[in-house]
Symmetry: C2
């Protein structure tokens, strides 16, 4: 992927092929535009892969509103990046649980769900996740809107037993849409 320190693919430019724990070390104040040329990536608000998460799939992102979730308090900052290891789309599998620690009712997912309620899930929360294979992104609101949380079979052994494990920016169990990340 390629990043620029100005909007519209202007200013200083840097190309990554592996993780970048901080663009500050490149002399960037923040990233203001980017293009993903291959693979899938996740960008983070803060250095060291902390803060809000933004899934970045192939394409062009000319300004912060192109990648930021539509949150009430958009973080106009993108500071660290790492690649995401996706499975073949057909082989991605995820289990969602009603309660934390893999308890309560569960659902098995192998497709994209812009609305978990429309697939029959009761309520607006998910208590815990187990990723059998692939990489997934779940979102606070239907239609993949709001805070995003990246879930990977390669991290935490695929186990996310409480919202505290979904990311440093997660403060509730609210999850209303889930999809596979596309390589």
């Amino acid at each position: 992927m390629v990043v620029w320190d100005e909007e519209g693919f202007q200013g200083r430019r840097h190309e990554f092929t592996a993780e970048c724990p901080s663009v500050l070390e490149l002399g960037f104040e923040t990233v203001r535009s980017l293009k993903v040329l291959s693979g899938a990536w996740v960008g983070f608000e803060h250095a060291g892969f902390q803060g809000q998460q933004y899934v970045l799939e192939r394409g062009e992102y000319p300004a912060w509103d192109a990648w930021s979730g539509n949150t009430a308090y958009p973080a106009e900052r993108l500071t660290s990046f790492r690649p995401v290891a996706c499975a073949n789309h057909r082989d991605s599998r995820l289990t969602i649980f009603e309660q934390e620690n893999f308890l309560g009712r569960k659902g098995e997912l192998s497709d994209d769900y812009p609305s978990l309620q429309a697939m029959g899930w009761d309520g607006t929360e998910v208590g815990s996740f187990h990723v059998q294979s692939g990489a997934w992104v779940c979102s606070q609101f239907p239609g993949y809107r709001g805070f995003q949380y990246v879930l990977e079979s390669d991290h935490h052994s695929g186990d996310y037993k409480h919202f505290r494990e979904w990311g440093s920016h997660a403060h509730t169990f609210q999850v209303q849409s889930v999809r596979r990340i596309q390589q």
Copy 2:
């Protein structure tokens, strides 16, 4: 679907089972929270189904940031609504064309694509669309972000031959993600 004139499902409440050309006629200044209890809907910025479009699938939307696209200039207004007629997910089919008026290279879609480039589409634009069946939403940026445009087989005979036909808020051919709308 049910709408409220305050955030967090507070204030005056109104329930729709069919299209609503203007909530102003109900004495609402705007809609500030909503729940979709069944079906899929599209909400519009202005009365008479004009302005920005927001796909609303089953679930809870406690405030405007839950449905607004993550645009640089969010319209904090939601004034008219209509239901969307979806096909069975497996039967949804869409053709995308490189140029306006159904010309140039084309691609056949029957699945969700968070990144058209990742599926092999060249560039960040789509010139025209023909919806064979179902209802689709295409978005300006990858990962279903930015301006949304609803495309339906039941409208315009499924033909959208120029961005002017995608909606009154469309000003470019930029489309980087496309998915089926979920009933």
